[in-house]
């Protein structure tokens, strides 16, 4: 959201545009007074999120005509608590997110993960902990007294996985507010950068000693740069995204939705919508009765001091 606004300002300054009316920030795309399938998401950029998700919701709605659902809606919550509340109340039917927020929302709302989403074309991912090779770091041991960059506190790959890994490996990790904070020699500080790209750049610019990003993001780093990094550790693999459905929804409808989504990549109408929906390759069913069990274990690791 920030970039369009900036660009607007840039355009106004550069070309003398005199229309100062600020953009309005709608919270929902449309009212929900009639039968609708509501897809929920957590984001601080609701417009972009809704724009990206709305075709997906519309597709679903179209497929659910038999359930007298006439339209698809997208509802964006600012945080996990709100989303859990909405799911629990049935205000949101479908919620898709990475394992860590899925775990939290599931615990608070009772919603169950049913499907796995192949976001960005990948079914699962893991975290790469890396550092600049010219900084002399060879292992996690060298991170003691140094700082590592995580994306955000709700991130699975750039918080939950690396922190759980560090803890499990016996390192004491502490959240810090400033990158240049002075740490005890036996502790590793972690700081949130907001985005994976930021974490990479922080490592490049020397603001932090190491960074933790998901493996897909790490792969997108140009090879010339990536060759200058040392990989200190790689965590276990987890599903890329999970689909949770409100416990208020009857199982028949849940199953119908799951079926539609699983077959969506095979539907000529559905496939482009999937690709436009964050390059989702497909949805498939999660194995086992409790797909969130490993995530929960990791979460428990992070809760240790």
């Amino acid at each position: 959201m920030f970039v369009p606004v900036l660009f607007l300002a840039l355009t106004m300054v550069a070309f003398g545009c005199t229309d100062p009316s600020p953009p309005q920030t709608p919270v929902t795309a449309s009212p929900t007074e009639t039968e609708a399938i509501v897809v929920g998401d957590i984001s601080d950029e609701p417009i972009e999120t809704i724009s990206e998700t709305q075709p997906f919701a519309d597709y679903l709605a179209a497929k659910l005509e038999t359930f007298e659902i006439g339209r698809g809606e997208v509802k964006v919550a600012p945080d996990m608590e709100t989303m859990a509340k909405w799911l629990k109340a049935g205000d949101v039917d479908l919620y898709i997110d990475s394992p860590y927020p899925a775990l939290i929302v599931s615990q608070q709302s009772g919603a169950k993960p049913i499907l796995r989403r192949w976001k960005d074309g990948i079914a699962q991912y893991h975290t790469v902990i890396f550092a600049r090779a010219d900084r002399g770091l060879q292992s996690l041991e060298n991170l003691k007294g140094q700082t590592i960059a995580f994306e955000a506190k709700f991130s699975t790959s750039a918080y939950l996985l690396p922190l759980a890994y560090l803890r499990r490996s016996g390192y004491r990790a502490t959240e810090i507010e400033q990158a240049d904070a002075i740490l005890p020699a036996d502790r590793i500080g972690y700081i949130f950068t907001g985005e994976d790209e930021n974490s990479i750049q922080w490592v490049i610019s020397g603001k932090v000693a190491a960074g933790a990003v998901d493996s897909a993001t790490f792969e997108r780093i140009p090879p010339t740069t990536r060759d200058r990094f040392t990989i200190l550790a790689e965590t276990e693999t987890v599903p890329r995204h999970m689909v949770l459905m409100t416990p208020q929804m009857e199982s028949q409808r849940q199953e119908a939705i799951a079926e539609i989504l699983v077959k969506m990549d095979e539907d000529p109408q559905g496939k482009p919508i999937l690709e436009a929906f964050s390059q989702t390759a497909q949805f498939d069913r999660l194995p086992g009765q409790d797909p969130l069990s490993p995530i929960r274990e990791l979460y428990q690791q992070t809760q240790k001091p």
Partner: protein, 1222 residues
């Protein structure tokens, strides 16, 4: 080569040259303008592009700052994507703080570059925007900063394609214009050159004609262009050539004429003239035709010869050298030589002197002019010999003399001159006088200039200090000396060293000064003990003495007084002789000055039965500018002498105008003051002076004879002092005397007239409150048998317009009164002299009866100073007032005016009533009872506030009572501190200050008061009142700031006179000259500072004689009456207070002696001394004085022996009190 030669520029026709040149110039100009346009366009574009780049950079930096701080590559990449949408931006990067690219233009993804970019690093290292002009773009970069923290850098590349396009347009336009201009210019140039070359051809033809000698023809010059101007110039030039040829022909003719004239001039020159070639060959010879010149050559004998063949070798060589120098330098060469010549008839060859002058007259020849200077040489030799002779005379002269030219350069000087100026044998001839003696007094230089102007300047004596500190005294003269042409050639200075003479004179003067100074010092030293002698003599005379002792004591006192007088005269004379006395010019009242002299001698004159008076010319202004104290001093000497040498009779002072002078300027008097010369005369009817002695009168130590000293006392210095003072004031003094008839002393003195008011307004009785107009036409009867008094009275009364009748006896007066009443012309004022021997109360009553009912008549009595009681009797008998003799004009006028004032009543006495116990009849005439005047001045006493500062109660009582009697308001303070407090609350008109007091003594208190008064500008009169009586004590009083001094015990008369003096003559304060007068104080030191031994002896004698004496004898009754005003009740009160204090003091003294406490003892003895002196208990005063003095020196042994005596005296005083109380 030939083809190339044909193409040479010189061979080109002018038309082609012009065409080519103009075309080339036009093309070059267009190309230049095009290039300049290109350059300017490029600069403008670059400037514009830089501004645009800077603007974009600023914007990018502002936008990138926040994401750079957060290191958000996505945001930064987004920024660069947007920037890339700008058409002019073709490249760009954002760098982190290390210089690593984070985002690149056109790349959506972050750069993730791990390598530092050189351009980014360069930007980060610079504090300003960096510019890099590349082939197709302008790359600009700048650091992004927050505060001083560099977050990173931004860089943008802006395309220069627009510039290239514009430059190509301008270039193409320039080429097109240049081509067109070249074609047009060439065509135009061809046409112009063609029109020019035709006319130039005409000019070339004309030039060729002139070259052939034809200057008569002109060429056509139509139009006004340059060729026309050139043609006109050409024609003008040919005209000028033509006229020049004519002029040259004329000049050639003139030269021929000039040559002939020069030849004639050469013929007239009397010298031998030669032309010599470089090698010395004679080319031309012209022999002098002057008969005084001899040349041993003939022209024919010299021509073609070489001078070596004609002249001696040395002269020939000298001539050739001079000729060479003349040719080389171009300057004339001159030298002299001698030749030995023999003329026909000469027996021997004669030496002749020649002077040769050589000048270059051609490339290798010189012109020589040879002159026979034998005669001139002869004259010069003679002059030189004379000059040397004169110099020798000057050099050998026995005096210091120098001859100096106009430039002050020595031409000659004597040896003595050099010796006097310490230059030894060195000759100063040729040196500048100023260089030799640079520190000459300015006056010398001025004198030199005067002498150079023709004046003769002489100085009999001049002294100055030389650089080495020695003093130089000279007598010198400067005269001009003259040249043969009559002009001043310089100066001759003659000096005579008079150092020794001056030293001798100064030594003599110093001897005189030292002698006088010694005299002054020793006189002063002598006067101090003399005061002691006189004081003790006075005290001795107050004790009980037998006739023989009394006689001895009186002789002692007389001798002491004489000696003191002698010392004072010596002191005054010495001061005059040593020049220590300076005149003080101030405004003063002449009448008052004269009357003060009368006051001074009133008692003395009365005692000798000498009538004393003064008459001051009424035409003399009342206020003059002069030294009043010196006039008074002279008059005091003259009047003192007159009274001294007048056994009986009269002494009259008169003052009149001698002459009026012109206005003068005087440093002490002022500018443009009118001077008045007054003549003072003191005439007596004394013993006179023999004429042969009169010439010694004004010489020091020259009394007429020794016998007079014995008879009359005195030092013989008085008149000498008077003479010196008169001389100091620019006047003259003289004496005229007839033995047994009397003497008249006169002196003159000059005064300045005070110009603030006219002199008539200042005359006595013509202005102010004392206007004598009221006396006009009133009748005055004078009853007095003294001629002088009558004369004085008549003089003033007549001036004031009164009708005066005189009579010498009471009977005649009685008749006159009766007749006047009968005639209805009763007298307004009757003045009767109380000294009339037969005047008594009955006669007075008869006189008043004779006046009948003429109430308007006022009777006034003239009394002598000791007739206060009689005065009171007369006042009680109905007299209006009394006037004390000698008669003073001011007092007389006041009394007369008061008497004739119809509105005024008879003055009411403000005196306290006489004590009941003392009736007037009981008072002897010798007793002094203060007469209470009734005039305004006396009334003023009531308002005058006197603060008495005294710690001894009895002394307080005495002084306060005296002040009450005198009519003053009194306030009392017990010490200096209390006095200052009281003065701060309520200022007093006068303070009587004891010196020795507890807490703050009188000296300290006065000093503190004076400090306070510096701030408020007041000056309270402070008069010391103390038992300390030595001169040194008096000086101590003055040094502390006191104005006057009274020694205790003080009589009421003395106290009254002193207070009146200060309170009614405030300006006297300013006039008083302490340094000059021992008599500056109103009281001369009558000291009791005698030696201890004398006191003790006196005490012993006293105590022995007191043994059987009556208790009343313990009291000095005269003293007691004086301090009490003869008030018996107050006397008892005083004595009781005294006894009470004395008991306390004696007890305290006994205790102090026991405790060996000298300080307490001294203080108590001092207080007892003052108390006993005040109430008149002399024996106790003496003992307390002894104890006080010994306590000062801590000599307390034996002092307890005095205590019983003190106790005994106290008991005797108590007995007297008991007796008085009845």
């Amino acid at each position: 080569m030939k083809r190339l030669a044909r193409l040479s520029w010189r061979r080109w026709p002018i038309a082609v040259k012009l065409t080519f040149t103009i075309t080339l110039s036009v093309v070059s100009a267009v190309a230049g303008v095009t290039w300049l346009s290109l350059n300017r366009e490029q600069k403008t574009f670059r400037h514009s592009l830089e501004a645009q780049a800077q603007s974009m950079l600023d914007l990018l930096a502002a936008l990138a700052a926040d994401p750079l701080y957060k290191l958000e590559p996505n945001t930064l990449s987004g920024l660069m994507v947007r920037m890339g949408e700008q058409p002019d931006i073709i490249s760009g990067s954002i760098y982190d703080s290390l210089g690593q690219p984070i985002a690149e233009l056109g790349q959506v993804q972050p750069a993730y570059a791990v390598q530092v970019d050189a351009w980014g690093e360069q930007i980060l290292e610079s504090d300003r925007t960096l510019w890099d002009w590349q082939r197709d773009r302008l790359v600009a970069g700048q650091t992004v900063k927050v505060g001083h923290q560099a977050l990173g850098a931004v860089s943008l590349g802006l395309s220069t394609a627009a510039l290239e396009k514009k430059m190509a347009q301008v270039r193409n336009q320039g080429l097109t214009v240049a081509l067109g201009a070249g074609v047009a210019g060439g065509l135009l140039a061809w046409l112009i050159s063609r029109s020019m070359t035709e006319r130039l051809k005409g000019l070339v033809d004309a030039t060729e004609r002139i070259a052939a000698g034809d200057v008569e023809r002109s060429i056509a010059a139509d139009g006004n262009d340059e060729l026309a101007i050139l043609a006109k110039g050409f024609n003008h030039m040919s005209d000028r050539i033509r006229s020049t040829i004519l002029h040259l022909e004329e000049r050639a003719a003139q030269l021929q004429r000039s040559e002939a004239k020069n030849q004639a001039l050469l013929e007239a020159i009397p010298d031998l003239m030669l032309r010599l070639r470089q090698d010395g060959t004679y080319l031309d010879v012209r022999i002098a035709k002057d008969p005084t010149q001899e040349h041993p050559f003939s022209p024919s004998g010299l021509l073609g010869k070489n001078l070596r063949d004609v002249l001696p070798d040395d002269i020939a060589e000298q001539t050739l050298q001079a000729a060479n120098r003349a040719r080389k330098t171009g300057q004339a060469q001159m030298f002299e030589y001698q030749l030995s010549l023999t003329k026909p008839g000469d027996e021997e060859p004669r030496l002749r002197d020649f002077e040769a002058r050589l000048v270059a007259s051609g490339k290798d020849e010189v012109l020589a002019i040879v002159r026979d200077i034998t005669e001139r040489k002869h004259h010069e030799t003679q002059i030189e010999a004379e000059r040397r002779q004169l110099e020798q005379i000057i050099a050998d002269a026995p005096v210091a003399i120098a001859v100096i030219d106009r430039q002050l350069r020595y031409r000659a000087h004597s040896q003595q001159w050099a010796i006097d100026r310490d230059v030894g044998d060195k000759s100063l001839v040729g040196e500048l006088h100023d260089d030799t003696f640079p520190n000459l007094p300015k006056r010398w230089k001025t004198s030199f200039q005067l002498a150079l102007a023709g004046e003769k300047v002489t100085y009999p004596e001049e002294c100055w200090t030389r650089d080495d500190g020695t003093k130089q005294c000279l007598r010198w003269a400067v005269y001009p000396w003259y040249r043969s042409d009559g002009e001043v050639g310089g100066i001759a200075i003659a000096t005579h060293n008079i150092n020794e003479l001056v030293q001798a004179r100064e030594a003599a003067l110093e001897n005189v000064r030292i002698k006088s100074e010694f005299l002054a010092n020793i006189s002063h030293e002598l006067r101090t003990p003399m005061n002691g002698v006189l004081g003790m003599s006075d005290l001795l005379l107050t004790t009980s003495l037998n006739p023989q002792q009394l006689e001895y004591a009186e002789i002692l006192k007389t001798s002491g007084e004489h000696l003191l007088s002698l010392i004072q005269d010596l002191l005054g004379f010495a001061k005059l002789e040593t020049g220590q006395i300076q005149l003080q010019y101030r405004e003063f009242d002449l009448h008052q000055c004269v009357e003060k002299v009368l006051d001074l001698f009133s008692f003395q004159a009365y005692n000798k039965n000498v009538e004393l008076g003064a008459i001051v010319d009424v035409n003399i202004p009342k206020i003059l500018m002069g030294d009043a104290s010196r006039i008074r001093q002279i008059l005091t000497i003259l009047v003192g002498n007159a009274i001294k040498f007048t056994p009986s009779g009269s002494v009259l002072i008169s003052v009149g105008v001698d002459s009026k002078n012109e206005e003068i300027d005087h440093p002490s008097i002022g500018q443009n003051r009118e001077l008045l010369k007054l003549r003072f005369t003191v005439r007596d009817t004394g013993i006179g002076i023999p004429s042969e002695k009169q010439k010694y009168l004004f010489q020091a130590f020259s009394q007429i004879d020794a016998s007079s000293t014995r008879e009359y006392g005195g030092t013989g210095l008085g008149l000498a002092i008077a003479g010196r003072l008169v001389q100091l004031m620019g006047g003259e003094i003289s004496a005229d005397s007839t033995p047994e008839v009397g003497s008249t002393f006169q002196f003159t003195a000059r005064f300045a007239v005070v110009s603030r008011q006219s002199s008539t307004q200042k005359r006595l009785g013509e202005s102010g409150p004392l206007n004598s107009q009221a006396l006009q036409g009133l009748r005055l009867l004078v009853v007095d048998d003294n001629q002088l008094s009558c004369k004085v009275l008549q003089h003033y009364a007549t001036i004031w317009g009164m009708e005066v009748q005189e009579t010498t006896n009471s009977a005649a007066a009685e008749k006159l009164l009766q007749s006047s009443v009968s005639a209805g012309k009763s007298f307004d004022v009757v003045a009767i002299d109380l000294a009339h021997p037969r005047l008594d109360r009955q006669i007075l009553e008869r006189l008043t009866r004779a006046n009948g009912k003429a109430d308007r008549t006022k009777f006034i009595a003239f009394a002598t100073p000791n007739q206060s009681y009689r005065s009171r009797q007369f006042l009680e008998a109905g007299f209006f007032d009394t006037v004390t003799k000698p008669i003073k004009a001011s007092r007389l006028l006041k009394t007369f005016l008061k008497a004739v004032d119809r509105t005024s009543q008879k003055p009411v006495s403000i005196a306290p009533p006489l004590p009941k116990s003392i009736q007037p009849a009981q008072i002897s005439e010798q007793q002094t009872i203060p007469l209470q005047s009734r005039n305004p001045k006396e009334k003023a006493k009531e308002k005058a506030a006197v603060l008495v500062v005294e710690d001894t109660p009895i002394n307080q009582k005495v002084v306060i009572n005296q002040l009450k009697i005198l009519g003053y308001q009194t306030e009392c303070a017990n010490n200096g501190r209390e006095a200052l407090d009281k003065l701060a609350q309520l200022p007093a008109d006068l303070v009587l200050m004891d010196c020795q007091m507890p807490i703050l003594d009188g000296y300290q208190a006065t000093r503190a008061l004076r400090e306070i008064e510096k701030a408020n500008g007041r000056h309270t009169i402070v008069i010391a009142l103390t038992a300390h009586a030595l001169a040194s004590d008096r000086q101590k009083c003055f040094a502390s700031g006191m104005d006057d001094y009274l020694s205790k015990p003080v009589s009421i008369d003395k106290l009254g006179a002193t207070l009146e003096h200060w309170l009614n003559s405030n300006n006297q304060y300013n006039d008083r000259d302490l340094s000059d007068s021992p008599e500056g104080s109103t009281e001369s030191a009558q000291t009791n500072g005698s030696s201890q031994e004398n006191l003790e002896e006196d005490l012993n004698a006293g105590s022995q004689s007191d043994g059987d004496a009556s208790p009343r004898e313990a009291i000095d009754w005269d003293r007691l009456h004086q301090v009490s005003g003869a008030d018996a009740e107050f006397e008892i009160e005083l004595l009781e207070a005294f006894v009470e204090s004395a008991l306390e003091y004696i007890a305290g003294m006994a205790k102090a002696i026991d405790e060996n406490d000298a300080q307490t003892l001294g203080r108590l003895a001092h207080q007892l001394k003052g108390a006993s002196g005040n109430v008149g208990v002399p024996s106790m005063m003496k003992i307390s004085t002894i104890i006080n003095d010994r306590a000062k020196f801590h000599r307390l042994e034996g002092l307890s022996d005095y205590l019983p005596e003190l106790d005994r005296i106290q008991k005797r005083v108590q007995a007297v009190i008991d007796e008085l109380k009845g």
